[in-house]
């Protein structure tokens, strides 16, 4: 089988740089990391200098993700030799046990770290991940809430909590988590859009209006967010179709919906110059929705 360097005609420096980029982006493209990293480690470890340790860690985690326990163990053993008393390496040992579904042993490792260092956030989060993996969502939520009381600035944890609440259909609490995230990340269009989706799901006129506002906000931050565009169309249409709104609100929302529909048609037209079928499809879909709208107004 051809090596990565042969297939893509790259040298070891490029492979090393690619791994660094993936680390910085926090990408979870584990199969690629394993392919590139395994070759880099086996053929060029001596050239990597001190970088080799962080690469071992990166490749090890990717290997666990791909069920490559052989590779993971190799990396782990190198790290253990180099850093025998490290908590960071102990956490990796725990992660390997998690991958092998030996959760009790993994928990023991994390508890040992926490006894030594109660502020070790990584170990606490791993324990919560174990609960999630075991399907114990309720407990995971409880533990994560406790964690966030202490570490209130942990964005990753707030997002994880919002996901857990969404899975449990507790949309009110999910919205709260997303509000925290939006406050600290006001320019992140994804949080706005997710918040809008949660509000839309909760339903009711007030939530629909909020949802429309946040879909608009997401679009303002990123005018190519298709979910936000569709969301704006749908929320505005629903508000306009509601019997409880005033004529002015109805008129305004029909305007917003029309604008969104126009933007959507344009986006599809640009991308599907030749695909008239898709465009007609979409137009007929919107025509149908508008027709429904007009019927009820």
């Amino acid at each position: 089988m051809a090596s990565v360097s042969e297939l893509y005609d790259v040298g070891w420096e490029e492979m090393r740089d690619k791994l660094r980029k993936w680390r910085e982006d926090n990408s979870r493209n584990s199969e690629q990391i394993v392919d590139v990293g395994e070759e880099l480690i086996s053929d060029h470890a001596s050239k990597l200098g001190d970088d080799v340790w962080i690469i071992y860690e990166q490749v090890m985690i990717a290997a666990l993700d791909c069920s490559r326990d052989d590779l993971a163990l190799t990396c782990l053993q190198e790290l253990r030799k180099q850093f025998p008393d490290s908590h960071r390496v102990k956490r990796l040992t725990g992660m390997r046990l998690e991958a092998l579904e030996r959760y009790d042993e993994a928990n023991k490792h994390y508890d040992a770290i926490l006894e030594d260092d109660p502020t070790n956030t990584a170990a606490r989060k791993r324990k919560i991940s174990i609960l999630k993996a075991q399907g114990k969502n309720g407990e995971a939520i409880r533990e994560l809430n406790e964690y966030l009381e202490q570490f209130v600035g942990d964005q990753e944890a707030w997002h994880e909590l919002s996901e857990l609440y969404i899975n449990e259909h507790d949309y009110g609490k999910a919205a709260f988590c997303l509000e925290e995230l939006m406050m600290t990340n006001p320019h992140n269009h994804l949080y706005c859009e997710q918040y809008a989706e949660v509000k839309y799901t909760q339903g009711g006129l007030e939530n629909l209006e909020l949802s429309r506002k946040y879909f608009s906000q997401a679009l303002r931050l990123n005018n190519r967010n298709m979910r936000a565009l569709f969301g704006l169309y749908m929320s505005a249409s629903h508000i306009a179709a509601s019997p409880k709104v005033s004529a002015k609100v109805k008129k305004d929302n029909i305007k917003y919906a029309a604008w969104a529909a126009n933007q959507i048609n344009r986006a599809y037209k640009v991308k599907f110059m030749k695909s008239l079928v898709k465009l007609l499809e979409l137009l007929s879909c919107f025509f149908f929705c508008f027709w429904q709208l007009c019927k009820t107004s």
Binding site: G135, A196, E197, T201, M226, M234, L282
Partner: protein
């Protein structure tokens, strides 16, 4: 309730969808292009929908509408719903699965709810890793295994494995991916052709 037959194309796409997003719950719709004859339903195709936030309404509603429109233009109808849970130890239908399946059942009497059992999806699995439910007395109950048909199961399984090994699952586009890049085709015509090539010695009808 009648028999349900799963075609090669429907099964392979569902399988590849679950394999493409192993860390997420995924779902999709089951389609049929033939009118039910004598209560038997033939699932000829499927549309992979989401791999994130399955229980949020807007995108699900949007996807259902778009698939509905496409179906009416291509002489197909939505006959069921499938889901694969992220947590492989639990393959029971989630509340949102039941909700969507209910909606489909409103429009089609013989609708089915299909759960992919992640724990049985290892390379050499002997039986199809699926659990099917049908609607009886307003509740979703397990369907009798003998009424579920997968013609030439071993061949279909091999086609699925072959496509997974050769990385063809990365060609699959679900509705979520389509929204990330609208040039990508959620009807998966390219993938359908590939499956047809591999399946044609196996099945008379795709």
């Amino acid at each position: 309730m009648g028999e349900v037959e799963l075609s090669c194309r429907a099964y392979v796409k569902m399988y590849l969808h679950a394999c493409l997003f192993p860390r997420c719950s995924v779902n999709g719709l089951l389609l049929s292009s033939s009118s039910s004859a004598g209560g038997a339903v033939c699932v000829t195709d499927c549309v992979p929908l989401l791999h994130s936030h399955l229980s949020l309404a807007p995108i699900t509603q949007l996807a259902l509408t778009q698939v509905d429109v496409w179906c009416s233009q291509t002489q197909q109808r939505i006959v069921g719903y499938y889901q694969a849970n992220a947590c492989t130890s639990d393959s029971s239908p989630t509340p949102c699965a039941l909700k969507i399946a209910d909606k489909i059942a409103e429009q089609f009497d013989g609708a089915v709810l299909l759960m992919l059992d992640g724990s049985k999806m290892s390379p050499d699995y002997r039986v199809p890793p699926i659990v099917m439910y049908e609607r009886k007395d307003s509740r979703w109950t397990l369907k009798d295994k003998h009424t579920i048909m997968l013609r030439q199961w071993e061949e279909i399984r091999d086609v699925a494995s072959q496509m997974l090994d050769s990385g063809d699952h990365s060609l699959l586009v679900d509705f979520d991916s389509h929204l990330d890049d609208i040039t990508r085709d959620w009807t998966n015509q390219k993938l359908n052709s590939k499956i047809a090539e591999l399946c044609s010695p196996v099945n008379g009808n795709i």
